[in-house]
């Protein structure tokens, strides 16, 4: 059944812009991207929006819907009330190019800074043997579709433009974790560089990234926290740490 939907769309570019109201038809089972496409085809031929697969697999149609970072192709119109206005705006953490399209090149620059996978030199193609249980830890992170919603929602990036230089963001923490947990990767000190060069320490584990991940990757619990714990382990030898505590206590007594 078709109904009229009130849609409020941010239109503009890096210099100026604002919200525009449109009324558009919405049918049963449609997602927000469908109605945006209908607006494009019937009312605003030059409305800019990124999309590709329309099945939640490519991570292109990231935007903010009623203020929440979401994939437009995976957001059902029916999730909102019949009288509710749906507001769509571009990702806030990245510079606007036009309308709902933002400049996400920050993420590609960060990708370039993460040292690549390093294969054991003496292991020839076809010789690798790995247990399923061992590859699964990294496989969880390789599910990432690079929608960058986690980057958008992370307040270290979202609220502090200055942090972008020294903070890689959740997407790249799971990239580092994936390589760190890769059964064959030979590069040492991935956790240490995560802490020292990519800003792992700035994350204060509020789990916002995990909440918005459309692939349900447990970014905070399975990647960030384990890395933080082990960085601490490696930085401070636990026996000496314990020893110093005990001595301190003796000193007090």
């Amino acid at each position: 059944m078709a109904r009229k939907l009130n849609l409020r769309i941010w239109r503009g570019d890096s210099t100026n812009g604002g919200l525009q109201d449109v009324v558009v038809e919405a049918n049963d089972g449609e997602v927000v991207l469908d109605v945006i496409h209908r607006v494009q085809a019937t009312q605003m031929g030059d409305l800019a929006v990124r999309w590709n697969c329309k099945a939640g697999k490519c991570g292109s149609c990231s935007m903010e819907i009623n203020g929440k970072p979401r994939l437009a192709c995976m957001t059902q119109v029916s999730a909102y009330g019949d009288d509710e206005t749906i507001t769509v705006t571009p990702l806030r953490a990245f510079p606007v190019i036009k309308d709902l399209v933002t400049d996400v090149s920050f993420n590609y620059r960060k990708a370039m800074e993460i040292p690549a996978y390093s294969h054991p030199e003496n292991l020839k193609p076809g010789e690798a043997r790995m247990e399923q249980i061992d590859v699964e830890r990294s496989q969880e992170f390789r599910k990432c579709i690079e929608c960058f919603l986690c980057q958008d929602t992370c307040h270290v990036i979202r609220d502090h433009e200055d942090n972008k230089k020294s903070f890689a963001g959740p997407r790249f923490f799971i990239r580092i974790a994936e390589l760190d947990m890769h059964p064959l990767d030979t590069l040492k000190n991935r956790k240490k560089t995560a802490q020292e060069e990519h800003g792992l320490g700035m994350c204060n584990i509020t789990k916002c990234c995990t909440e918005v991940c459309p692939e349900h990757i447990r970014i905070t619990d399975n990647a960030i926290i384990p890395m933080k714990e082990r960085v601490v382990d490696e930085k401070y030898d636990p026996i000496r740490w314990l020893g110093s505590k005990i001595r301190k206590r003796e000193g007090i007594v």
């Binding site: 049918n27 099945a55 599910k143």
Partner: protein
Amino acid sequence: MTNLEKYKYDVVVIGAGGAGLRAAVEARESGLSVAIICKSLFGKAHTVMAEGGAAASMGNVNSGDNWMVHFRDTMRGGKFLNHYRMAELHAKESPDRIWELEVWGALFDRTKEGKISQRNFGGHEYPRLAHVGDRTGLELIRTMQQRIVALQQQDARDHGNAESHMKVFAELTVTEVIKENGKVAGVYGYWRESGSEVLFEAKSVIIATGGVGKTFKITSNSWEGTGDGHALALKAGANLVDMEFLQFHPTGMVWPPSVRGILVTESVRGEGGILTNNVGERFMFKYIPEVFKNIYADNEAEADRWYLDQDNNRRPPELLPRDEVARAINSEVKAGRGSEHGGVFLDVSKRLSAEVIKKRLPSMWHQFYELAGVDITKEAMEVGPTCHYVMGGVEVEPDTAAAIGVPGLFAAGEVAGGMHGSNRLGGNSLSDLLVFGRRAGMGASEYAKKSGDNPVSDAALKAAAARIEAPFSRTGGENAYSLHAELQEITHNLVGIIRTGSELQEAIEKIAAIRARSANIAVAGDRKFNPGFHLAFDLDNMLLVAESTAKSAILREESRGGHTRDDFPGMNNKWRQVNHISSFDGDKVSVRAQALLPIPKELFDLFDIHELEKYMTPEEITKGGSN
């Protein structure tokens, strides 16, 4: 032209899907400079949608597998219309291409012995598909994307600049392959973001633009599948081969309307999913063609036993090649035995536990749960055919992927023709793009190394620029969105899964009429990230593809693989000896018949002669191969 943004590279790759990225890696590793151009962001290409896996006869699950078995399966699947040399190279080289991905960091699912696991798929005799759950395409793209980053990091160490020798130009549309002196000289296009124009001078150009699905109304393809490379090649003077063959994947989603066409992976059937109609009948047993009767079970008991004992039972008919299953579903729906929304039922919940389904088919569970409100661990999915893949494409030299007729032009992946004959087997696409992506990279590099400069002339630049400006100079003309919708309606109704001569004739006339009107498209707004402007160029490509498909289809008076003629049912062995070659004279597409190369004796002898008798004429059988 003084302000024109200009670049110079040894090799330009158009398309950043699996084939394009594999080609780029190869060209860079051979020491050349490479530009990678893509319409979307880097890493979003349609390859990410490939779910089931990559076919390679590594023999990890069944040691009986080898390249010869894979070759036979591929030829059977394509109904022997495949270019034998492409099928041979593909079968021989796929295992190395998969293992190489592990060296670059890919993490495939494992067997108990820790090797790469392989799964069953339609038309493959043994478990053969290397996979990562049901997101294998994403793993391929990410692995090669990261390989490219690794090579760029190496360039940063060696040359002080990560982009000194290889650069990705994302969100850039190529409108023309420019030739000078009869050879490729570069490509011309525009940034989607700003609309400003760019020239790339290059010694060789690799087209790796994927498919044409958006020409059709119901498709699994994303907006990018608009046949750009097919049209660029045609306009540059290359040929397309066998464009009548389109694969309608048997299982696309049919409801809700917004997801109509989105793919339901064949792995659902590979893992034990069964197809039933609205009276609960498991109908595929009725549709086993004569040529496959000895390898597919004709009763439920045997089909069910196959999942436990594959050596002593025939395969379930749900795993027939895709063209057979798509036609069967089409027939059931037409006979009034379809589901509420015009599909049939696919059910995996009765054979596997909820836990196993979520582990082996995580994206499918997610897709149906989120988009259709269906829990596939408890209930059946509604599915129907969707336009998925084009077997036809640029006619190439198999060993080098060089486009025939245009020096310096290469093509690999879905945009290239010949490899899959009249029908592609599932899993053979991911392996195809690795094998021929690499070969295109090698071929283009060898060509570039022995070629001198071939500068682009001002006349060519002016013509290319004028074409881009044209839609803005018109007012009150046609709307690209409406013309696209009209084209999709025509292809869906008249050039779809079942065809007839009279309907194809009607289609040819209607496509020509739309093409005439499309010369008058006007675009609203300016050049900045303007989808209406982008569509005007995509539409031009789709119109050429549709014309080529309709004109090839009307000539082929038989039914084979992804081409079914209601007025000529059944295969005709004489037609197996014919390829259809499309060419473009600047005004219209013309199609001519060309003799298919005969199979050499050493490959001919891999088959049982009685099987070949089903496909070949008595004269061919007597001859016994070409040498």
